[in-house]
Symmetry: C2
Subunit: 317 residues, 2 copies
């Protein structure tokens, strides 16, 4: 398949499929729109965890054992920072720090986040287009039993322990979606929603003006991949969030959250096919990505199923 | 000797004597007023090279082979930064970065430089009082054949190559000397000018309102230690600066710059005693500090000569 593909994604899981798609598609055919609701300021640095996960996955720099951050990482700065009484709850690797320093420095010089991202990708020899969802700040706040928490405070510092009651995407009502992201969606021949946490990775993107309506009005099919397998999230708190919100965690539950704009939904082939959902076609594939080969296989399966949706769209038109 | 001693100093050479004095004096008897004219912003970080040199020397963290920065240092962030096209002319070690991050972060929170310095010293178990010369920014600019350069641009980026025509201490006319530094001087029983570059380490301190007049009016003797031995600077561009300013580099030339407020001047025992200078008594000592033992020996010699000056002051009174 050599169509123009746009993927929406958050952190680690989504980044893996983005990497698979980058391997499966010819260069220049993939744009990835990345959640920036997790971005935060820490130690004076602008940190964009999801952009970094995507960049590290696409450049082959990610650490597959640890599951986050860079491989061949060292922690000497962090160790020295602890000795100085500095905050150590957010672990910053020495090599990872270089990205935060360079990004922060360029942003302070007045560059836009999208520009800086393009520069970083160029230096890392990434030829996939990586697009932050917006150049304006949107900050995910997790409404919990312990009060409203900034995302990283909830996710890293509090280890997702407080029970979730809801989410707030501060700034989303006024933040403009990245114009190039809207353009990429308009030009897309297939849109893929990566296996990312629906609440805190995909929905912040959908909350931006123009994104959801673009997905609803788009001619190209939209195909989502489940982040839930066997009622569990492969990584992160998605299943716990479903539970605390009173919804049984399942691929079907994710599909229902995306109803209205998805045409297809890929469940894991170990899971039963969900109850039919209006206008959503279900597919099965091996969605668990342990190896690089798994990433590419899933990407190829997703592109194949996307092709089927395109054919059906064509037949209906 | 267990008098209250105040030392004025800049970077590496001065820091070594400060360390020697800290070893030679009982705890709580030494305050060090440190030049901050070299401070600069780099990659969004507030960097205070001289404060760091002093802190690292006093805490035993400095690298004696390299001559600057921290021992057991690694350079992984720097290497990654270069890969990203970031600036690499100012070498930041991974452990050193922790100090810059913590300091910058605390300053952004509204803390004063002197407060942050005290906090860092506390965490590094330093029981010498380390005082930045001012909480307000003063920035040394080097007037050269290649134009006016920020100090680090001249010193690190251009490797002291442009010929020096003069110096400017931007902000010094309005910056207040640290009140605690003035208080320490008023309470001092001996003031030591460390073997630091007179032009860019000591004179920025003297340029602050109240410092020079305090030194001139002070009852305690002021004793300087030469940074020039055998017509050369042990480290850094002091001798080159003298030459370019048309002054033969010598201990005597340094003593003449300090005339008006020094009562004693320690030359290296390998150098000839200079021509008499009004109101300045010359002493000789082994001023080259290669080992930790050298630092303490020089400190002890300096304190002994200081004691002689105190006795003479007493006799004159």
């Amino acid at each position: 398949m050599s169509r123009r593909v746009v993927a929406l994604c958050g952190g680690v899981g989504g980044a893996k499929l983005a990497h698979g798609l980058a391997m499966a598609l010819p260069p220049g055919h993939l744009s990835v729109i990345v959640n920036t609701g997790d971005d935060f300021e820490h130690l004076g640095l602008h940190i964009s965890p999801d952009l970094d996960s995507v960049m590290y996955a696409l450049s082959g720099l990610s650490d597959s054992d640890r599951g986050w951050g860079r491989r061949e990482e060292s922690w000497n700065c962090m160790e020295a920072l602890q000795q100085l009484g500095g905050p150590s709850w957010f672990r910053l690797g020495d090599r990872d720090l270089a990205v935060h320093l360079e990004r922060t420095s360029r942003l302070r010089e007045g560059a836009r986040l999208s520009e800086v991202t393009a520069e970083l990708c160029k230096h890392l020899s990434i030829n996939t287009e990586v697009l932050p969802m917006s150049d304006a700040p949107v900050r995910t706040r997790v409404l919990t039993d312990a009060g409203a928490l900034d995302f990283q405070e909830y996710f890293v510092h509090r280890r997702c322990e407080p029970a979730v009651r809801g989410f707030l995407f501060a700034g989303a009502a006024t933040a403009q979606a990245l114009p190039r992201a809207l353009q990429a969606l308009a030009q897309a021949e297939l849109v893929i929603i990566c296996p990312s946490n629906p609440f805190v990775s995909i929905e912040p993107i959908l909350a931006l003006q123009g994104i959801r309506s673009a997905l609803e009005g788009i001619e190209a099919p939209v195909l989502a991949v489940t982040p839930i397998v066997g009622g569990k999230a492969l990584k992160g708190p998605a299943a716990k969030m479903f539970f605390e919100l009173g919804i049984p965690a399942s691929a079907a539950a994710v599909a229902r959250r995306y109803a209205g704009f998805v045409d297809g939904f890929v469940i894991d082939d170990s899971d039963p096919v969900p109850e039919p959902l209006e206008r959503v076609r279900f597919f099965s594939a091996a969605t668990v990505m342990r190896t690089e080969r798994d990433r590419q296989s899933l990407a190829e399966a997703v592109l194949r199923h996307g092709e089927e949706l395109v054919a059906r769209h064509g037949a209906e038109a």
